[in-house]
Amino acid sequence: MAAFGTAAGRPLQARGGSAGFRFTLYAALAVVTMYLDQRAHYLEQVRYVLEAAAYPIQLAVNSPPAAWAWLKASFQARAALQAENAQLRARQRDLELLAMRYDALARDNGELRGLHAALPPVVDHWLAAEIVNIQLNSLRQKLLINRGAANGVFTAQAVLDDKGLIGQTTHIGPWSAEVILITDPEHAVPVRVERTGLRTIAVGAGDTTSLALPYLPGNADIRAGDLLVTSGLGGVFPEGYPVARVTEVHRDAVQPLAQVRAAPLAHIDSDSEVMLVWFRAGHPAAPVPNTLGGDLKSGNRDMQPQATAAAAGTATTPPATPSSTGQAAAPQPTPAPGGQE
């Protein structure tokens, strides 16, 4: 906006003649923006503001489908609602029957593990979020939900529905958050085959109905129908949540790797609500929050061998930091800067 304003003030000839210069300027600006966003993560605040500005537009754009859904729901026949109600009641009874045994099972489990008391459930609390906008194509599989930093949502938070894993949050706005689905080609979730305990990684295949397991050797013990659950590695999802069911396994004698496809259990394309989940921090099954700070380049600093940190400390920091802080803040007589003067 500001650029339009400044351009208006200048005479026409000057603006017309400098297309190359303006191209260089804006291209450089774009490259710097990309660098700051990708490598240095300096633009989190800027993104936060931009997400806030974009949210009303996304709401508006989604309003026709939302209005249609609302209309359909409000004109739904009474019979259909009653049928749904009966179905839900039956389902609730089923779940209550299951839950009745849960306390006893949890206590048993605690005793078996040699604990004095049953562990509390790993889920601390959860929050329902409505899907505001869906971006589903073969390039990106993302959702926008109507909960953001104002609700305490944080980056890389687990998002589930009642059947299984949906994905995790990526960019957080004040009132909205972007969720990357497990079926996005960029997303990978560490999983375990429930039947055998075999660990592998499930990568999104770019459509809502399939995940690929590209890293299994040809002789891996896996077959169609196997349930994949989260393995608890990776620091985002706790262990044991259902992810997908294997649909097809191709073994080719020539290929060293088996080609395995799995269908996600969550109803990604028909959900209108998802659950954001907070996990109990001290729980043994909870994801380790430390690993969230890591990235592919530098990894998680807390989990690096201490030797590298110590080596880096002795090599570079003592000459640099004490002198700079000493000069900037106050002329404290410390032994280190003596060599500098």
Binding site: L43, A54, A60, N137, S138
Partner: protein, 157 residues
Amino acid sequence: MIAEGRGRLLISAFVALLLTVLPLPPWLDVLRPAFLVLAVLYWSINAPRTGGIALGFFAGLALDVFQGPVLGEHALALTLVSYIAVREHQRIRSKPAIQQALIVFAALIVYEIVLFTIDGWTGRAVTTPLRWVHTLSGALIWPPAAAVLAYAAGRRS
């Protein structure tokens, strides 16, 4: 007069942005032309001094907020495309609509190549051929889209 043109430009760019982020079923989404890129191209060719490269940059930034994995990706691609269009605007403007559509096709290919490259560099390579479909549909929709934009711009030609 210029201020009015700028208002129309901003409105048309905003409408194009809405069309770009409007949720569509997946099969239609693949076919969806990059409306905002077309709008930027139109204004770069027909009013290079009102919109031009600044429009390209800020429109790209808006796209980045809505669908870019990295801020600046679409901004760079659109800056480049609008620069080409602004530089050659006199030559492109005098061509008939069919030839313009071919030029737009080339510009959309350039745009997508930049996005493809940056996707790869930032470690998010998307190699499906479906990502190129919109260049074709964009070129096909160019003649009617340009006519609509010309009407919106209040231009009689």
